[in-house]
Subunit: 328 residues, 4 copies
């Protein structure tokens, strides 16, 4: 097992989780900067003593799996190299999340390896467990689609979504290890900042997933940065196709997630602290008698279930391990 691109937030946390995983052996962490330094010098808290190396395609024979944590477009060629050497890959980028090539290219530009798209499963474990188990590539979802699709899936399957507004809030770690105005504590602190207004890359990913559940809807998705480190709340406001009562809603969600080890249907609205540093998604659904709308609140840790611990959950599925292995 290796993590390619371990110097960013997502890759570093994946390395941490895999390093202490009882069944996987992390043998290398690669990066394009800081080569030769132990990863724990960059991320002391994660205590991964492996030195950062450059990714050397010639030495990959013995690798059976990899987590790739590269930026969009940079990931696909590396995923291809890893596949060629026989490894299976969980890719944290957007490169294989969208089934429709033209959608990808509208948002991200030319796809470097379009022929590989067909070999990828969408890595929202709860919805695509079987495909993930057998896939060569698992495209780990974006953190916003993770929280949003888990919130909306029961309603989408039931044909209940006529219209939906998703207002998502996220901590600063969602911006990654970028050093700029959005992450400087003196600018991001004491601030609430909506961003990418009316134009968020995660919208097509959410819509494609809902469509696969039989729900054809244009999603109004909006994200805001708020001053914390890790945490994400997707607040979903659904105009239902017909009136929905509390009891029906309750059963819909209870049934959908009864068997899921990492989805908790809560009896009251959760705060994101309740899932901090865990792989849980915590959901609360309510019917608003005044407006007739259905509200769903979905709390995750954007770096964990939204990214790196979900990658481990997928690796567990890919290698036939109990899904909670190394994550409890």
């Amino acid at each position: 097992m290796i993590v390619a691109g371990a110097t960013g937030f997502a890759g570093a946390l994946a390395a941490h989780l895999l390093w202490r995983h009882p069944d996987f052996e992390l043998v290398a962490v690669t990066g394009r900067s800081d080569v030769g330094r132990p990863l724990q010098e960059l991320y002391p808290r994660y205590r991964v003593p492996l030195a950062i190396t450059e990714l050397d395609p010639g030495s990959l024979e013995a690798i059976d799996a990899a987590v790739v944590a590269y930026p969009h477009a940079a990931a696909a060629p590396t995923v291809g190299t890893l596949l060629d050497s026989g490894a299976r890959v969980v890719d944290l980028s957007a490169d294989f999340r969208l089934g429709a090539l033209e959608t990808y290219e509208r948002w991200y530009g030319p796809h470097p390896r379009p022929e590989l798209i067909a070999r990828a499963a969408y890595g929202l474990t709860e919805l695509h467990r079987e495909a993930i188990a057998g896939a060569a590539i698992v495209a780990n979802p974006g953190c916003y689609p993770t929280a949003t699709v888990l919130a909306l899936a029961p309603l989408a399957r039931a044909g209940l979504i006529a219209d939906v507004v998703v207002d998502a809030k996220q901590g600063i770690s969602g911006a990654g290890r970028a050093f700029d105005e959005q992450t400087h504590l003196s600018m991001a602190g004491e601030n609430i900042l909506p961003y990418k207004v009316a134009s968020h890359r995660h919208t097509p990913e959410i819509e494609e997933q809902l469509a696969q559940l039989g729900c054809d809807v244009r999603v109004q998705f909006q994200a805001s940065l708020v001053p914390l480190d890790q945490g994400e709340m997707a607040s979903c406001y659904v105009t239902p196709t017909r009136p929905v009562g509390e009891q029906e809603l309750h059963e819909l969600f209870a049934d959908a997630y009864a068997a899921e080890p990492f989805v908790e249907v809560a009896g009251t609205v959760p705060g994101t602290r309740e899932v901090l540093a865990t792989n849980y998604c915590r959901l609360f659904a309510a019917a608003d008698g005044h407006t007739g709308k259905v509200l769903v609140f979905s709390a995750i840790d954007n770096l964990w279930k939204g990214t790196s611990s979900q990658a481990v959950q997928n690796l567990n599925v890919m290698f036939g391990l109990p899904e909670t292995r190394g994550l409890a």
Copy 2:
């Protein structure tokens, strides 16, 4: 001028602003706790040296105005006493915000002084300047209605709102000087917490104001606490009654607020830091080509424009002063 109830966050800030105001003379700050202590012992940063006294109705003859910062239902009797002694009042509570008594009583219980409702103007300065100038009571709006109604007024007047979702986020000062789970830094920090799901007292206040502008709509309003001190963002998602383009939207907002000293129509989405510790409301409107919805983002400081500095803005209007006096 006095501030009654100066020991809470709102009253203390009002006292601070009035103490340094060039045209008003703050002569007393009253409270039910900490009597005898200088206000600046409780709020050192505000540097108001007046000692806290009990409100003594017998000594009010010389008072021409008061800010009342009492809890809901406790405020109305005191407002009545002050009126009787000849003072004009800006009331920070909800007691006189709603024109419809039955709406008030559904949310807050029996009204202690219903006969006074007719003497109150709604203190959203930008919308009710003339009524405020002559009113005996000015009912200072809630902070959520302030941000929301300023965001929606241009669309409401133009008959453009078919449906609307308002997702508002606020710093912890919005919970006031309450000491509990919602305000403890170790619980409120690193958290995003929606609250009062499908049941927020501010909804009827917003709906009543929109109705006065000719817009009859049920508002889906939802608030969340995020870990900062002062700051509020109302993100409004409007389904328009007909398609609205960027240009029309731009003109609608520019025209509506061109003459307003404290409303800024921004060219890009604002963060709440941009209005921190000011009386400004900063707005940004955008049309979403994908969904056809209209988005409006409204940033205020919940303690300033949302509460105490708007009270001063109203006092300026009530006493014929330039509206920006003591606030620039």
Copy 3:
């Protein structure tokens, strides 16, 4: 195993760590409030499903150990009851930390069970491992003494401390689940607040421990609250009894802690994030050529190594388990 007083921050975290511990069985969590509610309703993040019960001395026969998380003076009688029923106790209060009764009574008032003091070992695992292994009561150290004594022990043993100033900074969780001015985010946020100036209860605890190492010194100890949740830094400024060079210092600390699983001697000054949510203490020592002083920086998580995870470390020692069990 039970946790008595599980509704506070320290008890709740202890319950969390013991609930997931591979070798201990947590059978009860007790509290004086919230009886009947699952602990995970109060602390959702900790996911301990046990319902809170009142401590019933009649039902303690089968209990072999307990963590007591009561306030000072309230703890000792309960510790006595538990001992009588045959359990061994890790006490998180100050009641058994001080060997000298008169010192205790000067700071905390009359001791409820002074005859038990002789049965207690001081629970700084690294210094008192043997005594802890056999003790009936283990007095878990205060978080400040934990960080400070680990920082100073190598110098104290070597007779190198002529004078010492300790400036400790701590996150708000150190104030516990108290709801007041010191913990309200709008007051504790954007603040740096020294407290208990020239009069800190932890001073005698530190001095007693240093004296046991042969170092008789009056410690200037000062604590400040800073706006984070969990984290503590003790910055120690030692005037040495003779000049000390970098090399000697390096060897002194390396030798002292080479075999310790939870003390890391760092090559550069640590931030508290490096030990967040861990049982580690991370130390860095430096000689200041300009002043001749020796500086030692000691970072811990005040709730973990400073309190609850150190309690688990002590329980591991008491029951002959590997010290890192349930803590890695």
Copy 4:
């Protein structure tokens, strides 16, 4: 009046304060980046509409004063150019803070304009008011020396300091508009980070000022970053040359600062929130009966009194205005 280097935190705040100053006319803000953009695009909160220009020495004839907010070594040549054109300068860099050239060069490298040092006054207003009034260059102090020297001056003058440890804590704005590990909210948040151990550039500045007051002492100075925006606390631990009692201490500080508009001698230990966004320094001194040491706590806003508002205070002195002008 111009601000040269207005795109950094210090220059931008100076521009904000001068823009709204009743007696100064800010005519230009210069910068090496973002030329042509209104300053308020970079710092919306400060609402300075002037466009950023390049500093053009040819157009400086009409300028009577400038604030220079350049990095060390870059400042001196610009200060020289401004002097040549007839302007008086408040320089925020370290270039003219030290009287001893060799000390400067040891810490900062070759001095670009050493011949100008003699024309500079040290801009700690409270200590050097007369020199500032007549100086061509005022070297604004570092924020750490501001807090520290104000704390220690009464003791230094009285010959009471035998030894001193200064442990200073500061918010992240102290690192300026640098985008790196020390300022990223996900790294600086939930962290306490000592830095520049045993080697801080501000030590010689503090020692030189104390020496001018007759106190020859080597200062143990250590700074730590804590997760807030603006705020600085210098905690000073003085070993006195002879026993000092509370009463003497009280009088010493009361006498020293009785006439100072911006120094408050507090009756209890202050938090930095008490001086947030003000030009105040708030001091508290105490004698520790246990150790015999004298403790002084000094709270300032590092960006205000520590930098930009002190620059305005100095400009007021330089131009014969009341010292509090534009700062109350």
